[in-house]
């Protein structure tokens, strides 16, 4: 388990354990509309993370007493598959950690989804972590944003999430599991790329004021790449059919 005593050397000769630079993302791959039964879905591979997100709705609210007659409600379920992780980090079932992540994910999306468009309805977001390697909540939000768009949900923006951590005096982008466990601090963020609104910010550990603004700048820079991949994933679903018939 992570402790100061058995902390491994996380930075060797100015590189990270997996050979990345400090501000380098893990390879990211997204595929949209992978599930036929869901209204919208996405499959994401981010380094060793493998995430499946599905969206249903807007649909009739169940249970009925939860319905809000002036706006839609969002329900979110983040869950780790029993086989998702090697250590005790990812337990399956509704536990404290999964409940917390479900809640923060839901609140992040409440900022961008046009809730007043479908009063009385419910939008269900399911995030299933098939394989975890650190930064799964960021991966989950990034995948769920694509799933929401592919379900045709009215949204202000396609949000993305990424984490920035600190090891010694270095700021590291997109921590993996081992860096996450032994880092001095870790900060997952979800950002709306259109205007730079931060819709989720959680932090373990400490940052100075300068480090914080540098970390946010790093996340925004990385976000350009993530956003591009998200958009490409959605476009390619329709391009595939277009290309087949040589249309526009």
């Amino acid at each position: 388990m992570a402790s100061k005593a058995n902390k491994p050397e996380l930075i060797v000769k100015g590189k990270r354990l997996d050979g990345r630079a400090f501000d380098e993302l893990r390879p990211l791959k997204i595929e949209a509309s992978v599930l036929k039964n869901a209204d919208g879905s996405a499959y994401l591979e981010w380094g060793n993370n493998k995430v499946l997100a599905a969206v249903y709705g807007p649909m009739e609210t169940q249970p009925k007493h939860m319905a809000n007659s002036s706006r839609a409600i969002i329900k979110c379920r983040y869950a780790m598959a029993p086989f998702s992780s090697l250590s005790e980090h990812g337990r399956t079932g509704p536990n404290r950690r999964a409940t917390e992540i479900s809640k923060v994910t839901k609140e992040a999306f409440e900022n961008v989804v046009m809730l007043n468009e479908f009063p009385g309805s419910m939008i269900n977001i399911f995030i299933e972590i098939l394989q975890s390697d650190g930064g799964t909540r960021a991966a989950g939000i990034t995948a769920a944003a694509v799933a929401l768009a592919s379900a045709g949900i009215h949204m202000k923006d396609l949000i993305y999430a990424v984490s920035v951590g600190k090891v010694g005096e270095h700021l590291l982008l997109d921590l993996n599991m081992i860096e996450d466990n032994y880092s001095d601090s870790d900060m997952p963020m979800a950002i709306s790329p259109r205007n730079g609104d931060v819709v989720l910010l959680q932090m373990d550990g400490e940052y100075t004021k300068e480090e914080l603004s540098k970390a946010i700048a790093m996340a925004e820079e990385a976000g350009k790449t993530i956003s591009k991949i998200q958009k490409e994933a959605l476009r390619s679903v329709y391009k595939k059919v277009s290309d087949k018939y040589g249309g526009e």
């Binding site: 209204d39 919208g40 709705g57 807007p58 649909m59 009739e60 609210t61 007659s69 961008v112 046009m114 479908f118 009063p119 009385g120 309805s121 419910m122 768009a149 592919s150 379900a151 045709g152 949900i153 009215h154 949204m155 202000k156 923006d157 396609l158 709306s192 790329p193 259109r194 205007n195 958009k231 959605l234 476009r235 329709y238 391009k239 059919v241 277009s242 087949k244 018939y245 249309g247 526009e248």
Partner: protein
Amino acid sequence: MKEIILPGDLLAETEVRGPYSYIENGKTYSMVLGMYEKERGAIVPLEGVWAPRLEDTVVGIVTSSRNSVYEVDLKFHGRALIIGGKFERFTFNVGDVVEATIKNIEDKKTIILSYPRLLEGGTLISIKAMKVPRVIGKDNTMIKQISNSAKSLIVVGKNGLIWIKGGDIALATEAILRIQDEAHVSGLTERIKKMLEKN
């Protein structure tokens, strides 16, 4: 020239009011995944749920009956009701497929239906509601083409439920499902025509 747009994409530097877009700080942004035609400023969403409009023809299944009020499942997040009165008497059973017109929409979520008609027998298929306009086509051309070729009776509900009776149901279904998949690619009418002529 049509292009694919995504939520949050900038459409115009000025305020242009229209469906499926929103305005913030004097600029217009998209709020859906859709096709955008810049010259006309028109957005056609590619995915999404059906938003009911007055006078829409819908197809649904009766799910409950009490006195002469029938609740109809339209695959919609609100309720849809057929209300019988002194002069209008309807008798439907639970499970009946009906065609009706939207008379009123209350608070965006309760739909009142009128002129219900029982659809007996036949097959019911469900497609994405956003693709229904392409299935119907301009001036009903597409749906006429399908029903003439397959020699079936077809009722298209704006909510995405389609009822087909008689003729070559398999051919009609195949054509409709193909339209659903290829609705965003131009030259659709020609391709469907070719497909129908082959059979």
